[in-house]
């Protein structure tokens, strides 16, 4: 049986990659994918803990998280379409009308 710590290390690594991705990338799609990585890192944690503590709550939580992530992606893509239509760019450092 795979020890619990392996899952936790995997999820911590994924979460870190996600955070670094969101903070360092310019392309908005890569940022969205990095955010999905963060959510999935939490999902791996939840499923692993659920399995090892023999409670189902974690797996139910994951179902909800997956649903919310899909809804979030839908809203994000709609906004990105507007942005690329109005401004012709998907690079976040070009969205700088407002600052200060």
């Amino acid at each position: 049986m795979i020890p619990l710590s392996w899952y936790i290390i995997l999820s911590a690594a994924l979460f870190t990659i996600g955070i670094v991705g969101v903070l360092s990338r310019r392309n908005i799609f890569i940022i969205l994918m990095s955010m999905e990585l963060m959510l999935n890192a939490a999902n791996i944690n939840l499923v692993a803990f659920s399995h090892y503590s023999q409670t189902l709550t974690g797996q139910i939580f994951v179902m909800f998280v997956i649903t919310v992530a899909a809804a979030e992606a839908a809203v994000a893509l709609a906004i990105i379409i507007l942005l690329s239509r109005n401004r012709g760019s998907i690079y976040v450092d070009e969205f700088n009308i407002m600052k200060g």
Partner: protein
């Protein structure tokens, strides 16, 4: 023997107000198809009626308390108090929107539906007794408001506000989710009471507990616009349609405080020493950033955005003070804040008319001569935001700082008073521009019965609460008793 149907209705009673709000939102989406473009304001009044009915349902449910749906949903006086604040924020938000949407030519039915969905999300957040419901309520609120922020589809500024809010919002909820997964792993349950029971017996030197607490603090700090997680606030507040900004500055922020109060003063009670240090640090930083950055703003929406950061800082002072007094003062403060901020944004909306944005502070020049009523209302709201007696803003700040002094955080109270002295500069500057500068040209204000009603409600509340706060404070104190 009750029938199955009766049993079902009986078990659904606790979420009646939320159900009403959601049903009204869904019917708004349907009615939207049958109502022609010129008469969309009907949908606004219909949504408002829904909010009033939901408020009445909350009122009738007040004697019925307890925990439902297997510990996931609390129907307690605490949640009911916050539900009333959400009704106020949503109701005033709808009233200031009706005319504004007409002026901006974005009058579509989804607007009201999204506003109601966001409100129902906030209500679930305030009632949540479980991390799953907390997360779902937060996302329901956040997703609706991302869309509202980008509601002016053709406007670059609105698009930009929406994407900035979405990226940072989703980022922060990812962090929160990871913290929640750690809490679940430690405690073996997602129930807030279960986590409290675990923390009571747990070895608190475990660093993972702190990691989880800090992750939750970061994401709730983001929702209430606490520094250093405030970067999105000025841009989003400036770019979003003004009516959405008004709603955003009252609704989600108050919901964030509802969650902070429940999680930090109830679930994380055993970690009190450490959480006080974190919250006090956040409070000082937030007050400093909000008040100092607001000094140099020329755009009124941006100025009010920094002001809303500063006000989150004052409320965090009450949260750091903790205890029933601290919690009651935070609840009173967010209620007062919802009224005065809605009022201030209402006056800003009056200045918006076709062909002119009316968002610069210089646009207020000479308002005291050309439109005495609008200028006087703005004067009241600015005085209240500064915290000048006898207006409500003073009462709110007074109880916050009083609870901090009583909790032994004298330095925090002193810092708060000093920072609110700084804030007088940028609030009074608006008044100075209105009364001492000459009007540039004749200012014609857009006004409508709905907007006038919203302003009348706000200004009455600001004055009445300022003069007679006792009952409200006692009500807040009684509400907090259930969770402490």
């Amino acid at each position: 023997m009750p029938t199955l149907y009766q049993q079902f209705m009986q078990s659904m009673m606790p979420i009646l107000p939320e159900a009403i709000v959601i049903i009204v939102a869904l019917t708004v989406l349907v009615f939207d198809f049958f109502i022609e473009k010129e008469r969309k304001s009907l949908l606004g009044w219909y949504s408002l009626a829904g909010i009033v009915i939901a408020a009445y349902a909350s009122y009738t449910l007040m004697p019925m308390g307890g925990t439902f749906f297997g510990g996931t949903f609390h129907l307690d006086p605490f949640a009911t108090f916050f539900n009333f604040v959400f009704y106020i924020a949503c109701g005033l938000g709808i009233l200031v929107s009706i005319n504004y949407l007409e002026v901006e030519d974005i009058h579509r039915g989804e607007y009201y539906a999204l506003m109601l969905f966001a409100t129902s999300g906030m209500m679930f957040m305030a009632s949540a007794g479980d991390l799953i419901l907390l997360y779902l309520g937060l996302e329901l609120m956040a997703l609706s408001i991302y869309i509202l922020a980008g509601f002016m589809r053709g406007s670059n500024r609105s698009n930009e506000a929406a994407i900035k809010y979405l990226i940072l919002g989703a980022f922060s909820s990812g962090i929160m989710l990871y913290g929640m997964s750690l809490l679940y792993g430690l405690a073996g349950t997602t129930n807030l009471s279960g986590i409290l029971a675990f923390l009571r017996v747990a070895d608190l030197s475990n660093p993972i507990i702190f990691l989880a607490m800090i992750m939750l603090t970061v994401s709730f700090g983001f929702k209430v616009a606490a520094a250093p997680f405030h970067m999105w606030v000025p841009d989003v507040y400036e770019g979003a349609p003004t009516s959405v900004t008004a709603f955003m500055s009252a609704g989600p922020k108050v919901a964030g405080f509802a969650v902070l109060l429940r999680v930090f003063l109830y679930t994380f009670e055993p970690l009190r020493e450490h959480s006080t240090a974190i919250l006090a640090g956040l409070a000082v930083l937030t007050m400093a950033v909000g008040n100092v950055m607001a000094l140099s703003q020329t755009n009124i929406k941006r100025m009010l955005a920094y002001s809303s950061i500063a006000h989150a800082g004052y409320a965090l002072v009450g949260l750091a003070a903790g205890g029933p007094d601290g919690a009651a003062s935070v609840m009173l403060y967010v209620l007062i804040y919802a009224f005065m901020n809605m009022g201030a944004f209402g006056v800003v909306i009056m200045l918006r008319k076709a062909g002119e944005r009316g968002e610069e502070i210089s646009d207020f020049a000479g308002l005291g001569k050309t439109n005495k009523t609008a200028a006087f209302l703005m004067l009241i709201f600015m005085f209240s935001l500064t915290g000048i007696p006898p207006l409500a803003g003073f009462i709110g700040k007074f109880y916050i700082f009083k609870s901090a002094v009583e909790a032994g955080l004298v330095w925090l109270a002193v810092a708060g008073v000093l920072f609110s002295a700084i804030s007088a500069y940028f609030y009074l500057r608006v008044i100075m521009v209105m009364y001492m500068h000459e009007p540039k040209e004749s200012i014609e204000l857009s006004s409508a019965p709905s907007l006038a009603l919203a302003l009348a409600i706000s200004v009455t509340a600001v004055i009445v609460i300022g003069i007679y706060p006792t009952d409200l404070l006692n009500y807040a104190r009684a509400s907090i008793a259930g969770i402490m």
